[in-house]
């Protein structure tokens, strides 16, 4: 304030009572205040006196008024509005408060014991194990990378090694994290030492695992139901093995694979039968992939190099043999494959996505394989992934399209079981729409609905982070899938509300009884990422609602789903902790579910969960979501049958060959069907499973063509001769002869050890496709969609138009609107550039 004043008046005149004495200069702030009509009476009088004496001051005041009017007009008084959700959140809070205090206070005390029941179970254990893998995913050492995709036999040491490996990776990650977080010198040397030791241990275990993995490669071959070979041929035109080149040429020219002169040959330890080879265009255009099913062939020659090991210096230098595609950004988990374990990667992001090779099941002759066996355990992740890519205008890589996961994503109208069995089996057969001489058989399994009194009613408030950072395939879409899964488990005694937070915090779904599942599903489906994160308002609102609907002796819980980028917005961290602690005392607990998080952010969530008497889970896949939210959360209450295996026996009198569509990674060895020591999938209450077989009936024009040529000449011919099938029973007679197939199901009671078996024969009534049920038609369109997206050789005749038409016939039954969405996806797929 030391500006030289041009007049005697002090440069900064107070806005307050002033004497009228002294001249008023143009830099007197009162002049401006006067012009802006902001002076009290006394000052106004003083200014007016000065103005009366000074024409220049009057001009100045007028000028100021004009400028103020101009600026005032140019400045909009109003900004944007709050979003509807934000407004709603505020108003809801305004009205909710008194009501809550009156109504619920008595119940808020003394019910905490009951409140832990549901979601508290099991989350802890999962957390530890899951984070182990996740934390280690980001800092990836060379040694780690080498065994990703590796395989370990299920020997006596395997689980021990595996556990050790996982825990070391966890420790390694934790130590790394601690070292990163601790910038103080005092803590560092100790941590460094610890870290070094862990790294050493990790390296040791890794090398042991690698040795184990190398030794187990042969076991892998044996364990996989269909041995497979993937050749990434790079530029296939260069110095390719002429026999492979011939396979490629035939494929490009769409010659039937079974055309004459297709000889079986051996290539790098694999026997390749050109009639059984699928040629898949490379993802990026430059590579061509040959998927060769060895099927009934003998295992790879014993002296062949392990497929996952160093590539042998073969005659062709520019191709590689892989069992699994390589891994760019590994998020891994151990998965049981046959008798052993494979460290498999999960798809993460576009570009660097890695998919375990999915080999499409070929047609199998009934004469060769009377039985088809698989576990009903299914995911639905592939559908969300495919949807994501199609919505983004990308063609999904073939291996990302897993037909059975597409198929099982949708609800079907299967009647519930009526007897005491935990599930009902519904069979249907009709004309195969993409190959009219073939029959399509649908196997549908519907689990019994849950015993309602078995578990306490639930009052759940989902608090979902919809901020921009959740816009990743392993984040919001996975949250949605998880919530859908959880929703499946709930019934009309349960209540669900959804609060979202981001730029907008608000109530996406007011507390809704779960009899209105379609409405809840719609809201879940409508969640879209966007905006910045402001968790505080959201979490307060979520607690508010949970308290409103408080269920005495029930489960009252806020379920926070976020990627951990959970900042507290405009409220302090301490205030948030205080809030959560207080609410936990009232019986509303907090479950934090982390999705797709990096290393450091889960600390916040874990802390929140701790404060909220809660638990914390990390979900990186739908498999994990099912585990955390369905299997473990509601425990055995939900599972109604375990180790559910399905075996289809085909009648050689009516079926020439068949093909199971999808379930390529779920097949079991036939002998495992009756083996109660072999694990299989579980059926939860209300779960549905659908599988489709494409069946070539005896007498179909291509019955001979689809049956591959093998080295067993006795099996040639369109009609299997009973005498030529020494392994099978005699061909059936009488009524049995009319049957197409029999579906056999084995399961155990949730606590049982001995399986029960049921058989369901199917007679083909000769229905045309048009006469099939709408569910059947819709299922056909879904598998057709999947096959076409995969570029399946079996879908050569399929058109997008036909798929769209079949899909539309299923729209009449569309709870949740999934089928309508599917119809959109078909249109998107059709629009993709070829």
């Amino acid at each position: 304030m030391n500006r030289p004043a041009p007049h005697a008046q002090p440069p900064i005149g107070p806005i307050g009572p002033m004497g009228p004495s002294g001249p008023m200069g143009p830099d007197d702030p009162r002049l401006t205040a006067y012009a802006l009509d902001a002076l009290d009476a006394a000052d106004r009088a003083a200014v007016e006196a000065a103005l009366a004496a000074d024409l220049a001051l009057r001009a100045l005041v007028d000028e100021t008024r004009a400028a103020a009017a101009t600026l005032s007009a140019a400045l909009p008084r109003d900004g944007a509005s709050l979003t509807a959700l934000q407004r709603q959140a505020i108003l809801l809070r305004g009205t909710a408060r008194p009501a809550r205090l009156r109504r619920w206070t008595p119940f808020m005390l003394g019910s905490s014991a009951a409140a832990v029941v549901l979601l508290a179970i099991g989350l802890r254990a999962t957390t530890v194990e899951r984070r182990a893998v996740t934390l280690s995913a980001a800092p990836r050492s060379g040694a780690d990378g080498a065994i990703v995709g590796g395989y370990m036999a299920g020997g006596p040491n395997a689980s021990e090694l595996r556990a050790r490996y996982d825990s070391l990776r966890a420790a390694h990650a934790a130590a790394t994290r601690a070292a990163q977080m601790s910038s103080t010198d005092a803590a560092t040397p100790g941590l460094q030492k610890q870290l070094a030791k862990i790294q050493q241990d990790l390296a040791d275990t890794t090398s042991k695992l690698q040795a184990e993995a190398a030794a187990a490669q042969q076991a892998l071959d044996a364990a996989r139901i269909q041995n497979l070979l993937e050749l990434n041929l790079g530029d296939a035109s260069q110095s390719l093995d002429p026999r492979l080149a011939e396979v490629l040429r035939r494929s490009r020219e769409n010659q039937p694979a079974s055309a004459p002169a297709a000889e079986i040959f051996e290539y790098r330890g694999f026997k390749i039968d050109p009639s059984r080879v699928n040629v898949v265009p490379g993802r990026s255009g430059e590579a061509v992939k040959i998927v060769a099913a060895r099927g009934a062939f003998p295992a790879r020659a014993g002296n062949g190099a392990p497929a996952g090991g160093p590539a042998p210096a073969g005659p062709v230098a520019h191709d590689t043999v892989e069992e699994c595609t390589d891994v760019a950004a590994p998020r891994t988990h151990w998965e049981k494959v046959g008798d052993g374990w494979a460290l498999v990667t999960e798809p993460e992001s576009a570009g660097g996505e890695a998919y375990v090779l999915v080999e499409e099941s070929p047609f199998l002759r009934v004469a060769d394989a009377r039985l088809s066996t698989f576990s009903i355990d299914v995911d639905t992740a592939s559908y969300a992934n495919v949807r994501r890519m199609l919505t983004a205008g990308q063609r999904p890589p073939a291996d990302a399209v897993r037909v059975e996961e597409l198929l099982n994503y949708f609800p079907y109208e299967y009647p519930a079981p009526s007897g005491t069995d935990p599930f009902a089996v519904h069979l249907e057969v009709a004309e195969c729409p993409w190959e009219v001489s073939h029959r399509l058989v649908r196997v549908g399994i519907q689990g019994r609905a849950m015993e309602r009194k078995a578990r306490p009613p639930m009052n759940l408030v989902f608090l979902v982070d919809v901020s921009g950072s959740m816009n990743a395939p392993n984040k919001l879409p996975l949250v949605q899938a998880s919530l859908r899964m959880l929703l499946e488990e709930l019934n009309e005694r349960d209540s669900v509300a959804i609060v979202v937070y981001a730029g907008a915090s608000g109530l996406a779904l007011p507390p809704t009884w779960c009899e209105q599942k379609a409405e809840i599903q719609r809201v879940i489906d409508d969640l879209r990422p966007g905006g910045s994160t402001n968790g505080a308002a959201g979490i307060e609102l979520a607690y508010e609602i949970a308290t409103q609907r408080f269920v005495k002796d029930g489960v009252n819980r806020v379920v926070l789903a976020t990627d951990g980028d959970f900042n507290v917005g405009v409220t302090s961290q301490e205030a948030l902790h205080a809030l959560i602690t207080t609410k936990a005392k009232s019986g509303v607990f907090l479950t934090c579910l982390g999705f797709g998080m990096g290393n450091l952010k889960d600390a916040t969530l874990e802390l929140l969960a701790d404060k909220g008497n809660g638990n914390y889970g990390y979900i990186d896949s739908t498999r994990e979501a099912r585990k955390v939210l369905v299997d473990e959360a509601s425990g055995t209450l939900v599972t109604i049958a375990k180790d559910v295996k399905l075996q289809v026996e085909f009648n050689p009198a009516t079926v020439a060959s068949y093909r199971l569509i999808g379930y390529d990674n779920r097949r079991l060895a036939d002998r495992d069907f009756a083996d109660d020591t072999k694990d299989a999938g579980e059926v939860g209450a209300g779960h549905r499973v659908t599988a489709l077989y494409e069946v070539v009936p005896v007498g179909a024009p291509d019955a001979a063509a689809v049956a591959p040529t093998t080295e067993e000449p006795l099996r040639y011919g369109a009609k299997p001769a009973p005498v030529a099938a020494p392994a099978g029973p005699m061909a059936p007679e009488g009524d049995l002869a009319k049957e197409l197939l029999t579906v056999k199901v084995r399961w155990k009671e949730p606590a049982g050890t001995v399986s029960t078996k049921r058989e369901f024969p199917l007679v083909d009534g000769g229905a045309s496709y048009g006469k099939a049920s709408r569910d059947f038609q819709f299922a056909a369109s879904v598998v057709g969609f999947g096959m076409k997206l995969r570029g399946s050789p079996y879908a050569a005749k399929l058109t997008w138009e036909a798929i769209a038409e079949w899909a539309s016939s299923g729209l009449a039954f569309d709870p949740g609107g999934y089928r309508a969405e599917f119809a959109d996806l078909v249109a998107k797929a059709k629009a993709l550039p070829r």
């Binding site: 902001a38 008084r77 944007a80 709050l82 305004g94 308002a537 917005g569």
Partner: protein, 201 residues
């Protein structure tokens, strides 16, 4: 007070102040999404406040809390600070920017006025906005910003002086050089007054 009363009161406060507060907060934090968060939080706080205390001074209370929340927000570094010009001038991509016919109809002098405003320090801009756009009294502005009433008077005076000068310039003047504006710090520090000398009389 019944729940109905309270709802009506809240609804009224929202109707009257929601958009002005978001305009103010947008100017402070430079981001309409963050501004919405800030204002939502302000109203959530209003719910916790005693109505008898707040009601007589509602506008002052709301603006003060909005400012405090905005400062907290900026201190957290959630939003990259934007330049004053960007925050104030009709930036096309922003939903708080004047749009449609309003923009088209905006006369040269209005644009010049906004330009001149954009050249002022954040502190000067803020008091001018609170006065000219939001209609707060000098005393309220002083309470909201933490300045003394006389300091508010000086800032407004200086701001208006620069504005007058800009509007007196010939209309052909093209504003090309970036104004030496201060970062939009809204902490109650004494801001440089360089802008008021942008043109001499």
């Amino acid at each position: 007070m019944t729940a109905e009363d309270r709802t009506a009161w809240l609804q009224g406060a929202l109707d009257q102040f929601e958009r002005p507060l978001i305009a103010y907060a947008t100017h402070l934090v430079g981001d309409v999404h963050a501004a919405r968060d800030v204002v939502q939080d302000v109203f959530l706080r209003l719910l916790r406040a005693s109505r008898t205390d707040v009601e007589p001074v509602l506008a002052r209370w709301l603006y003060t809390v909005t400012r405090h929340r905005a400062v907290d927000h900026l201190r957290r570094g959630k939003v990259a600070a934007r330049s004053n010009a960007d925050a104030l001038d009709g930036h096309p991509a922003r939903d708080d920017a004047p749009t449609g016919p309003e923009t088209l109809a905006m006369r040269d002098d209005a644009r010049h006025a906004l330009e001149a405003l954009g050249r002022l320090s954040a502190g000067h801009q803020e008091v001018l906005r609170l006065r000219l756009s939001h209609g707060l009294s000098y005393a309220d502005i002083a309470l909201v910003t933490g300045l003394s009433v006389s300091h508010v008077g000086v800032r407004i005076h200086e701001g208006m002086k620069a504005l007058r000068a800009r509007l007196a310039e010939p209309a052909s003047h093209a504003p090309t050089s970036a104004p030496p504006s201060a970062p939009p710090s809204v902490a109650p520090a004494s801001a440089p007054r360089a802008a008021s000398h942008g043109a001499s009389r």
